[in-house]
């Protein structure tokens, strides 16, 4: 078993998928000889050849549309979009075609494609490279939206995404690409695409996050532990379909909840979680559910990006308010 970074885990899962299923084909810009701007596909072109790893002309709409057509013919395209800010031109194909082809043909055609795209800020990247728009994707019926927060979950969730018979957007937290290492067993085992992961059990407060924000969230849980407060930490992992059951069950025990996300606050996915919780667990709530989120601002350039990303300080302040409430 090897200690892998998240990007290596992605690479390993891609290799495994290419190996296992001849219908899996990678699409993207600079993913071939170059190995991808983050090296997610490093060595794959060399190993599987140019008919499995396809360098594309520079056109994101095209990548989305090609993937739809290939998937309808029974292939399993896995497309890389270099940065989330470049996913917007793909939304038309995601919302109008990929997510509905099965439904609009009443099951005759389907769209088993995967779109891999980086997610989030904190790596000093240029404009449009640090976005977080998972809630827009979560609003598209027929889609699945997934975001791992560790190398092993990246491996298992990506395999699941590629094998899934329906379209999946797989968000990769750029900030975690090389930040942490974990033992990853390349056993071809997929993780479920409809389940949250409880990363830490606790009884006083539930902290809910996903992607790169798990880092700060776990840090805060540790800080709270030092103060004798037991925080349960949940990694949502699959944004759509959202496993409310796990979160509701937790909050029914803790009575308090803080949701953390990098995306802008308004209509972010935290709103959906808070809405579900008050619908299903209002009697258990000992305080309002707080959301610690990116502000409702345009994703800033590097000099200010950390000023909108939830910091441990902000998360802790919210926990304090929630714990002190009432």
């Amino acid at each position: 078993m090897a200690e892998l970074t998240l990007i290596q885990a992605v690479n390993t899962a891609l290799a495994r998928a290419l190996q296992d299923d001849p219908d899996v084909v990678l699409l993207g810009q600079d993913i071939g000889m170059h190995g991808g701007v983050f090296r997610a596909t490093e060595g794959l072109w060399q190993r599987f050849g140019g008919n499995r790893v396809l360098d594309c002309p520079l056109a994101e709409t095209m990548i989305g549309g090609l993937a739809v057509g290939m998937a309808a013919e029974g292939m399993k395209p896995v497309a890389e979009i270099q940065f989330l800010g470049f996913l917007y031109p793909v939304l038309d194909n995601l919302a109008n075609h990929a997510s509905r082809l099965r439904n609009r043909t009443r099951g005759r055609l389907s769209c088993p494609l995967t779109i891999r795209v980086t997610h989030g800020a904190g790596v000093n990247a240029p404009e449009h490279h640090s976005e977080a728009i998972e809630s827009m994707l979560a609003h598209m019926p027929g889609l699945r939206v997934v975001i791992p927060s560790s190398p092993s979950r990246a491996y298992g969730l990506l395999l699941a995404a590629i094998r899934d018979p329906d379209p999946v957007v797989f968000l990769e937290p750029t900030r975690l690409y090389r930040g942490l290492r974990e033992e990853v067993l390349d056993d071809g085992r997929a993780l479920p695409l409809d389940t949250c992961f409880v990363l830490r059990e606790g009884s006083d407060i539930t902290l809910v996050a996903w992607g790169a924000m798990m880092k700060e969230t776990l840090e805060v849980a540790e800080t709270l532990a030092g103060r004798g407060i037991s925080a349960e930490v949940i990694d949502v992992a699959t944004i759509k379909p959202f496993d409310a059951d796990t979160v509701v069950a937790s909050v029914e025990r803790t009575g308090r909840c803080v949701i953390v996300h990098e995306a802008a606050r308004t209509a972010g996915f935290g709103a959906e979680i808070a809405a579900c919780l008050q619908e299903r667990a209002i009697t258990a709530l000992l305080s309002p559910i707080e959301r610690v989120t990116g502000y409702d601002v345009v994703t800033p350039m590097p000099k200010l990006e950390r000023r909108t990303m939830p910091s441990p300080t902000r998360i802790l302040e919210a926990c304090d308010r929630v714990l002190a409430w009432g």
């Binding site: 056109a59 549309g65 739809v68 057509g69 292939m75 009443r106």
Partner: protein
């Protein structure tokens, strides 16, 4: 800036656009006809196919006028294109249509009642029973989106080294969409087995082609992607079919993609919700009837001894009966269940949406 004698410029590339035509508007051959013109049975099927489109369109519109059909578009005056295209394709090829090619879809195996079910507002019409069209794409409502899907289909064929071709059909308006250009470009870059058929009927709803683009031809849109291009007289089924056979052959033998611009004219309103007198001169439409593809082929068929008045009468009765049956089946089609909305959303519905489905079911039957 005056050009000097020792010019700084050299010509590095030249291009020409050719236009293909076999029959003039009076149905008289102006060039040696392709061999298939001698295939009496085939030519009769083609003529019948075009006639079917016209009568089917009439039927669909009359259903709409009597409140039993949603909005849809006819192919009036353009019948040679869907039939010229579909008749040239093989079963294993894939058709990726727009929304004005019911004729091509039906030729390939979709039943007329299935098209009516779709235009009547029900997704089930896009799941035709005939296995021959199992790979064909459904109607594309978002203009131009089908071009990239067809490129994806063609790319799957290429990667699998199949001898199949994807054929996508587009309007003149669609050529303004970036999607279509991106499809043309990748078709060239990857030598995709793909044919773009553009039905240039002069209008995108109210927008005449002159205001859609300054390009002298739509064929030259293909030059931007380095693919083969050709114009065809879209009201001459010989030209359309001949151009298609050439393009399909090129694609099947590894020669890559072709863009065929078929010149035609939309004799009808844009669709059943449109009133074209708001934006075009009815006199012009009248004048354009002289170029009707049905009349042109009919004249030639009779002159060639392929067709008679008796044939015409028999065919019309036959088609009318067929359409009667189709309409009956359409009208008798049971209403969909509310749960249909959920049952093809995912391969299997995530448990998260089960309660929504249950509510829809309860209220549907309540």
């Amino acid at each position: 800036m005056a050009q000097t004698a020792d010019s700084p410029d050299t010509i590095v590339a030249t291009f020409e656009i050719r236009r293909r035509r076999f029959l003039d508007e009076n149905g008289v051959a102006i060039a040696e006809l392709p061999a298939f013109g001698a295939d009496r049975d085939l030519m009769r099927r083609i003529y019948r196919g075009m006639s079917f489109v016209r009568l089917y369109d009439q039927k669909r519109v009359s259903l709409q006028r009597t409140g039993r059909m949603g909005t849809s578009a006819t192919a009036l005056g353009q019948e040679a294109i869907p039939i010229g295209v579909a008749s040239a394709m093989r079963e294993e090829d894939v058709l990726v249509p727009a929304y004005r090619e019911d004729g091509a879809q039906i030729w390939r195996g979709v039943r007329p009642e299935e098209m009516l079910i779709y235009w009547g507002g029900d997704e089930r019409g896009q799941h035709p029973a005939d296995p021959r069209v199992a790979h064909d794409f459904p109607v594309a409502i978002t203009v131009g989106s089908q071009a990239l899907h067809a490129a994806g289909v063609a790319n799957a064929m290429r990667l699998r080294r199949q001898q199949r071709v994807a054929v996508t059909m587009l309007g003149d308006g669609a050529t303004s969409k970036g999607d279509v250009y991106e499809a043309i470009n990748v078709a060239g870059a990857w030598k995709l087995p793909l044919v773009f058929v553009i039905s240039n009927n002069g209008f995108a709803i109210s927008t005449p082609i002159e205001r859609q683009t300054a390009a002298e031809t739509l064929a030259q849109k293909g030059l931007a992607g380095g693919i083969a291009v050709l114009q065809a007289d879209g009201n001459d089924v010989f030209a359309v079919r001949h151009a298609m056979l050439e393009a399909l052959d090129r694609a099947r033998t590894g020669g890559g993609a072709t863009l065929i611009e078929c010149l035609t004219y939309r004799l009808n309103d844009h669709n059943t919700a449109d009133d074209s007198t708001r934006y075009r001169d009815p006199e012009e439409v009248k004048r354009r009837w002289a170029y009707c593809p049905m009349k042109r082929l009919g004249t030639w068929m009779r002159a060639a001894g392929h067709w008679s008045d008796a044939d015409e009468e028999a065919m019309k009765a036959e088609i009318a009966a067929e359409l009667e049956t189709a309409v009956e089946r359409y009208l008798a089609h049971p209403a969909p269940e509310a749960t249909d909305m959920f049952d093809h959303l995912y391969a299997s519905l995530p448990r998260q949406y089960a309660s929504q489905r249950a509510e829809a079911e309860r209220l549907d039957h309540g």
